[in-house]
Structure formats: C-alpha cells, structure tokens
Amino acid sequence: MVQFRSTEREILFKVVYYGPALGGKTTNLEALHEITDPESKTQLTSLKTSEDRTLFFDFLPFELGEIEGYRIRIQLYTVPGQVQYNTTRKVVLAGADGIVFVADSSPDRLRENFTAWENMKANLLANRMALETLGVVIQANKRDLPESAPVDQILHTMRAEGTPVTEASALTGEGVIATFQLLIQTVLRGFAQRFKLVQKNASPSALDEGVARVFAPYADRRRGGAPPSEESVFSAQIPLAQPLSETEQLEAALQSTTRLAEQYQETERLSRLYRDRLREMTTLNEVGAAMAGAGSTAGALELVGPRVREIRPRWTVSLFLSEEGAPRLLVRDPAGEDPLLQAGLASGVLQGSRGKLDRLQERLGERGVVPDPPLGEAAVIPLGPPGTPRAHLVVYAPEGHALGIEDTRFLGLLERLVSPRLMAMDLLAEIQAANERLELRVVERTAELTDALERLKELDQLKRAFLNSVSHEMRTPLTNVRSYADLLLRYPDQIAARGPEYLQVISEESQRLEALIADLLSYTRVKEPARGEPCDLAEVLSEMVETLKPRADAKYIQVQVQKEHPKVVVPVNREDAQMLVRQILDNAIKYSPDGVRVKVFLLEDPRKVIFAVRDFGAGFPKEQRERLMEPLPEGGKGVAYFKKPGLGLGMFLVREVLAKYGGGLHIEAMEPGSNVVVEIPKPGAPPPEPAG
C-alpha cells in the first residue's frame, strides 16, 4: 500500500517483480541497480540458493527524485518463483502498489507463465487486493533468445490480453529501464486519480513527462560495465541439499528477516554514533581554534563551557579557575548555582582532584550533599599542566543519568585538547616576561658599559695629562744640562775660564733629574695598596734629615727637630713614610732663602700623630698652596688637577700617600714662610670629632 506522507511531501511505493521461476526477476533488479546506480550508493539485498535461485526475495531501494514537488521513493522486491515458496510470494505481494510480471519468452515455458500469472491473481485475492487497482506491466523477457515466442502468443497463453507489455532482455539490460518507467508511470497515474492530485495541478501527462525526465539519462544505458562491487550487493549463497519444505522455508525467512532488522538497527545506531562523533570532533576543533585566538587563560576557558553544552545539551557545566585561596567560578551553564559551591566543597573537592576524570557521585554522597534540583552523575576534569591544573571543568548529568563510555571518551578528548593549549599559553606568557626582563637587562648593561667607557676615557685623559706634566718637569733640567754641554762644545776656549762653573750646573741639574725619576718611581709604588709593617716616624725623620743635610748645608740652612717621644710608631710602611718626610723637608729647603732655619715638630696624641714643618722663606708659592688645599677630586684623581700648572710631583705624592692611610694635610701661611701640618690617624683610634 502506498505510503503518502503529505507533510513531508514524500511518497513511498512498493513494486514487486513477479513471474515464473528462472524468468529473470532478480536479473531485472540487478540490471536496474547497475544502470541507475553505477556508484553503488544503494545496496541490493539478495539471498540465493546454491542454484542461484532466489530463496526469499530481493530488495532494492530506489530514489526516483522529485516529481511535481513530491519526493518519490520506491522499494523493489522480487519473489521466489519456485512453486513450493508460495507463502513467501503471498507475503511479499502484500501492500504492493505495482507489479512487473516477468514472463519467460522461451516457447517451452509459456505454460509456466500462465501458472505463475494465475498464482499471482490467487495471492492478490488472498491479500484482498484487486488487480485493477494496481499498476501492472508484463515484461516479455529473454527476447534475445533465438527462438522466442511472439509477444501476442505469450499474452494469449496467459489470458492477459490488454495488459501493458514491454519487451526486454534483462541479461543485457535492454528494456529493463523502459519496463520500470512504464510501471512507475502507470502506478503514479492511478495514484494521482485516487488522491485527486489532478485537481491540484498534477495532470497525468505532466506526471508521465516528469517520470520520463527522470529516466531519460538511463534510457540508452546497457549493462556490461564493471560488475557491481561486492559492497553494493548484500548477497548470501545458501547451500541446500534439497528444496526446503514450506514450514522450514517460513522459519528460515523469519530468522533471516530478524537478522536483517537487527543489521538495519545496528547500521542505524552506528551511523547515529558517527554523526555524533563527527559533531563532537567539529566542535572540539572549533574550540581549539577559538582558544588559540584568546588573549588570556580565562578568556580561552570561557569559550569551553557553552561549547560542551552544544554536544551534551542536557548537562550542566561549571568551570572553575584555579586561583590562590579558593577556586573562582568562571562559567556556569545554564545559569544557576554550582552544587559544590553551594555545599562549600569547591575548594576541597577540586583541589583534591588529581585524575584526568574524577567521578563525584560517591564523594558528594560521603559528604551528604544532595544537589537541589537533584542531579545525576557528575565528574571533575582538571585542565592544564598535570598536578597543577589551571582550571577544573565540572559536568553534571541530569537526574538519574550516568556518564557513559561515550561521555567519558568525549571528556577525555576535551581534556587532551584544552590542557596543552593552556600550557602553551602559560609558556608563551613566560617567554614574553623573560624577553622583557632580558631587554631591561640589556638596557642596564649597556648603561653600565657606557659608564665604564666614560670612566676609562677619563682615566686615559688623566694618564696623558700626568705624562705631559711629568715629561715637562723632566725636560727642564735636561734642557739646562744640554744648554751648558752645547756651550762647552761650541766654545772649548771657555772651558778654562767657565768650565767648572758650567759643570757644576750640569751636575746639579742631573741630580734634579735623578730626583724626579725617583719621584716617578715612587708614584708607581704609592699607587699600590698599603702593605708592610708600621714604622717609627722619629727614626725615619732622623734618617731623612741626615740624607738632606748636604742640600741644606749648601744653602746654609739649619734643620731643627723637636720631638716629644724618642719613638713614634705610625701605621705607614717605611718606604711611604720616607717619601712623605723627604718631600716635605725637601720642599721647605728648596723654597727657603739661604741661611734661615727650618723647624720640624713631631707630636702625638691618643688619636693621631702630627708632623709639622715650618719654613721661613718665601714659603710655598701662593698658587701651590691653594692647589694643595683644594679638596682632592673624586677618588684622588681628576684631569683638571693635573692640567693646571705649577704643582710639582712631590707634593702630589704626599697627598696620595696620606689619602692611602686616611691622613690629612694642611698648610698655614705664616709671615714669613709657611707651616705644613701632616696628621696621621693611629690604628683603632675613634673617628675624629667633627670640626667646629
């Protein structure tokens, strides 16, 4: 019986290929399948005996496409032709909308045609069906046989004159489409009349033309291409020792039908499953892509909750962000209160959750938590690095529902997608922070290097200024020596008269040069860090007075020493102490006029040792004194200090030595002369009292 689903505008017809055994019914279906569905989108179902005879029926679904706005689907069946399988024939025939009677054109089988035709009519009657209400086409098959009976004779033998007839050769495919097309047109015409579709602008000729258009592409096709693939034919060969009895056959048919139904259901189930999985994978893929574009962990996670519910609409989803202290609820979908938060269990349950998927049911039960409204099974999925998750996804199934294998699998996939993304985001943030730190460090280091370079440049300038100053000091006595040497060379006649006088100057100037070189050597020593034993300054003083005595005597200068104690120990090594005393004494002798006294005082108090030299000459030239009283530039060095003229190396050395030992120097201008006072702190002495 036609199934007419008006709302879906779909019409489902049942067509049965009837006829004598071995007449070519199955061959007709095979040809149709091969011609109309070369890509084997549909499956021909066929159960055969080992003699290649149809045991139950063949089945082929057929999509005719749309005609006049209706989608037309046709189910094609064949019946077994053998006499003993009449029950099957009767059952298959039930509900048919059209019949193709495949008649055998062999002259010796005309009687079988008649028997089968009569059998068909009897079965229709038994099914309470009227031949007149059905579309019926007789196909004279096997027209390719060399001695086929004329069509008229076939119809006459069957006593079926007047029934529409076609000629065909199902083996080659010829006429198969034409037969099928004619039957569909006949069936549709009857259908249109019965449902009064004519009044709804579906004229019989329009229907005919519609059907013709559908079949037009197949009209010229024949069989003979590649045989249908194995997948396209569900076929089984059932070996039979002898023909089955009617009861056995019925039993086998029922079993077979049951198996088919089971297979159909399984197929349906699998296809549903694959559809769902495809949807899951598509969604997960989209989640991954969206997370990649998110700016923050929270932003990325906010996308996850709603997408989970697209896949499992009946679930409730909570997403907690792991924050110091308590987890923070980021997403609750659908909106509402999270049962864990309600019960005050979020912290304990979530932080205790270490597995990839923890089922919560038992743990909630243990704590006596009854979610309101009641929920089914729940699970926690930690997201992020293993052991230190960045977030927790909690899913609640609806009341009375458990989380099944498919759910677990889906959640597992989700975890494997989201966790690495979160870890990657963390790593990226770390790399960015490290880059920023590195940049800062480079800037700092560059500044340090620039500073160091500046200091080096200054030091270099200082060194050059020092060398200039020293070389100038040294060239003066050398020039003087040369002047007299030149003079004596150019005017040897003067040697007798002035020679001794000139040689005296040469000798003195050589000594001055020697002293300068000694100072220069002292300078390199004075720059070395303080080391060596403390020495007795009283002893050093006596020694130096003795050393300088010839120079003092030359100017008739008397050096007087006044000391409180015979021994005055200072924390200055002997070489430095010698230089200190020699320079100051030498200066006093140098700048005093002939015949005066130079007084030296050596005093001591608990804090310091005082060494003072009073001269009675013009004293220190004023400029030198001022320069000496200037505070030392930073670190005892400075370009300007050397660039100014007038300061000998000697007093500079004095300052360097004193700076090394934390001592001080000041010069008092006296009338006449000056008083040079040196102070050296004793070791372990308390710091000097603030001045004033």
Binding site: H472, R475, T476, L478, T479, N480, R482, S483, Y484, D486, L487, R490, Y491, Q494, R498, Y502, V505, P621, P645
Partner: protein, 117 residues
C-alpha cells in the same frame, strides 16, 4: 745685539746670559715684571725674552704697558711660556710680541729663532 732676559728663574737667566753671550750678544737681566719694563724703556734692547709668569704680574701685562710706550717700539719681544697655547699667542701678538718661545729651551734654540726673518 742687545738682549734682555726677563724671568724670575735665576738658573734660566744665567743659562741664557752665558749661552747668548757666548754667541756675541750683550745680555742684561730682569727678575720681575716691573724690572723688565724699566729695563726695556731705559736700555732699549733689540730683543726681550719675556717670561709669562712673574711673581708680580704676567707677561701680557708687561706687553700691554710696553705697547703704550714709543721707547719700546724698536724692541722685539718673545714671550716664554711652559705650554703651547694658541689663544695666548694671539693675545701676545696683538699686544706687539713677535712670537712665543716654548720652555724649556736652550740658548742655541733661541738664537736660531732670532735669526729667522
């Protein structure tokens, strides 16, 4: 040729007097700026070797005074300095000096310079 050696360094004066004297010049000495001015105006030497650093004044002050006196016009003055200083040279030349002599210097070097045109 009459040369006045004006410098507060006694040794330098002595060397110059001995050296230039041996070459045939008649030398006189001055130890301060004031003495130098006095000596130039009184003796009208052909050459004056003038120190830049006197205890009482500097060489430029001496030059400034001499520039106002016609008696000094015939004396060629050379300024003796310890450093090569372009600005100082310019100032000295502007005040009528013939040039700078860089100390330390030997009498033969001075003589060579005096023979230059």
């Amino acid at each position: 040729m009459k040369i006045l050696v004006a410098d507060d360094d006694r040794l330098l004066r002595r060397i110059m007097v001995d050296g230039l004297g041996a070459e045939g010049a008649t030398c006189s000495e001055a130890a301060t700026g004031a003495e130098a001015i006095q000596s130039v105006l009184r003796d009208r030497p052909d050459i004056c070797l003038l120190d830049h650093n006197f205890p009482d004044m500097d060489g430029l002050s001496v030059l400034r005074t001499l520039a106002t006196r016609p008696e000094a016009a015939a004396t060629r003055v050379f300024l003796l300095t310890g450093s090569e200083d372009a600005a100082l040279r310019e100032q000295a030349v502007a005040l009528g000096a013939r040039g700078l002599l860089r100390k330390p210097v030997t009498p033969s070097q001075v003589f060579a310079r005096l023979r230059e045109p």
